[in-house]
């Protein structure tokens, strides 16, 4: 234990072992992430003539990027993606916080509440999209049934651009809020009961307790939940794909959907790669912004 030479020898072999144990993960990341991303930027600077594919990839310079700049459909899908982020991130946070507060009651039988939060999380996004499409059907959907029962006129949910966007947002908020709730619930349960007891002795109302104790104590959990939600919101694909297919027209199409169509339906790999590269940069900017804030944010004493 006390002699240094042996411990440095051990250090060296530990380093070697660490490298060996990390190698499989590194190899997978290299093949599945690093190499493809590198070729993505390469492809985005090239173009393939679909009439003459044998010629292979031709150098195109920044043509694919300048094309994006003039492409209305790109700007619209980007705007739509931003809209989904701006609406569903706070939306899912508010609904998720509500669900977490409800789920934090002292239940004697815990499974209905637990499964009530887990099922929306475990349900594939496409399934959620399909189910909500069924909810919003004009003639046979349950949403319009409720609207009519409340004395309203049935709404053209999926064929009006505005209503279709709203319907997609509702579906996304439903699907993502339960995962938020699970994360916030763990945060709620780590708040010491004694804080509330002390506040009660001081005569604080339930609302005061919520604002003065719950929210500040929950800040780190809220922050992590927001990061997760934002990162997934940038990539929104499955739910609008299943609910509207991007329609009516291209009204509800997200950037991810446009990229997928460009590459797989139009087989335009050069342009698709340029759009995917733009998306990559966009999400890296958002992520690094968040990470910079994390490094200061939650560690800062409140």
């Amino acid at each position: 234990m006390s002699d240094a030479p042996i411990s440095t020898g051990k250090d060296l072999s530990e380093r070697a072992l660490a490298a060996v144990l990390l190698a499989p993960a590194a190899l997978l990341l290299l093949v599945i992430v690093v190499y493809p991303i590198a070729t993505l930027f390469f492809s985005s600077l090239h173009t393939v003539d679909n009439a003459n594919p044998a010629a292979g990839e031709q150098w195109a310079g920044l043509a694919n990027y300048t094309r994006a700049f003039d492409d209305d459909r790109f700007w619209h899908s980007l705007g739509q993606t931003v809209l989904y982020i701006v609406v569903t991130v706070p939306g899912a946070l508010i609904v998720g916080l509500g669900l977490a507060l409800l789920a934090n009651q002292p239940f004697r039988v815990k499974w209905p509440v637990r499964l009530g939060l887990l099922l929306p999380w475990a349900l594939p996004l496409v399934f959620a999209g399909l189910i909500f499409r069924w909810f919003f059907e004009y003639q046979t959907g349950i949403v319009n049934d409720v609207v009519v029962r409340l004395g309203g006129e049935p709404l053209q949910w999926l064929s009006s651009p505005t209503l279709a966007t709203a319907a997609v947002c509702i579906a996304i908020v439903w699907k993502s809020s339960s995962f938020m709730a699970l994360m916030l619930l763990a945060g709620l349960q780590s708040i010491p009961r004694s804080l509330y007891e002390a506040a009660e002795v001081d005569g604080a109302t339930a609302w005061q307790q919520f604002v003065e104790i719950t929210l500040p104590m929950l800040r780190p959990a809220i922050f992590v939940a927001l990061i997760f939600r934002t990162i997934t919101a940038i990539q929104t694909f499955d739910i609008p794909y299943a609910m509207t297919g991007g329609g009516p027209g291209e009204a509800t199409e997200t950037l991810a959907m446009y990229i997928q169509k460009t590459t797989l339906d139009f087989l335009d790999f050069g342009y698709g790669s340029a759009l995917a590269a733009l998306m990559f940069v966009l999400s890296m900017v958002v992520t690094s912004g968040y990470l910079r804030y994390t490094r200061r944010g939650p560690s800062r004493p409140t």
């Binding site: 990390l22 499964l115 475990a122 003639q139």
Partner: protein
């Protein structure tokens, strides 16, 4: 006062449960209806003449059992690969003295934040060049990577709680370091390994974009993509789609019902520790 408190608790439970279960219950009811009942106005809530015919059609209209088998193979094998690789990485990151530990951790987390769609385009080309389109590895490999960060984090947090003395004792008894990992650390953190496996499995089972891209042959479609094949171009036979959805969500419902505490623990452990 006491009674009021109890009824608030009841109300809270009902709201959360209804919010979570309602969509599943609604498609279950729909799956028992006929097309004729469906277009009745006003719509019926409970099926007037429940029928299982939609389930029969769901099994024959599309090879749904084949879809399920594909999902099972892809999710199962990618989970096994992911858990194995992340266990090794988590051990190196928690138990061994190594340089740049934090850098490696951050790189791992950065991967978790990559947009999948950006990866999809070049990955499609890579898989096409390797001739792997419409084969299981085309999904198994990316899915293993997809869950690598979360699995590593979950297992690392469990490995940290195992006293180093136990490992030292095993090594005194003639176990190698790697032997100690497989005979002491992994068995003792079985709950963590298990939690990581469930998360990886559900992630793979639910994935849609890559499954849509890599497998265009019907016989290789996974469940999440296969379900979308029940709709016609303009027609949505909702009772049939609902029956197929119910069949498709049964396996995932069983998993979360049986392992609910594990899943909740695993989902939140990554989050709270950040």
């Amino acid at each position: 006062m006491k009674l009021e408190r109890r009824s608030i608790v009841w109300l809270a439970a009902i709201v959360v449960a209804v919010n979570g279960f309602f969509p599943a219950v609604w498609i279950l009811l729909t799956s028992l209806k006929t097309e004729t009942e469906l277009i009745m106005s006003p719509i019926t809530y409970l099926p007037t003449a429940p029928t299982l015919a939609n389930y029969q059609i769901a099994f024959t209209a599309q090879p749904i059992l084949r879809f399920m088998w594909n999902s099972l193979v892809v999710a199962g094998l990618s989970t096994a690969l992911c858990v194995f690789v992340s266990a090794l990485a988590a051990y190196a990151l928690t138990r061994l003295r190594m340089p740049h530990r934090n850098l490696v951790m951050s790189l791992l987390l950065a991967v978790a934040m990559f947009p999948l769609i950006s990866l999809m385009v070049p990955l499609f080309k890579v898989m096409r060049e390797l001739g792997l389109l419409n084969t299981y590895p085309a999904l198994i490999l990316p899915y293993a990577v997809l869950s690598l960060p979360v699995c590593t984090l979950v297992m690392a947090s469990f490995f940290q709680d195992i006293p180093p003395d136990l490992e030292a004792a095993a090594m005194v008894d003639g176990c190698s370091r790697v032997g100690a990992l497989f005979r002491v650390v992994i068995p003792l953190s079985a709950p963590g390994v298990f939690t990581a496996a469930i998360l990886a499995f559900v992630n793979a089972w639910d994935e849609f974009l890559l499954a849509l891209t890599m497998m265009n042959r019907v016989s290789m479609r996974t469940l999440s993509v296969g379900i979308t094949l029940y709709q016609g171009e303009f027609a949505f036979p909702w009772p049939l789609i609902s029956a197929a959805l119910i069949i498709a969500i049964v396996p995932i419902c069983i998993i979360i019902a049986v392992f609910q505490e594990r899943v909740v623990g695993g989902l939140t452990s990554g989050g709270v520790k950040g």
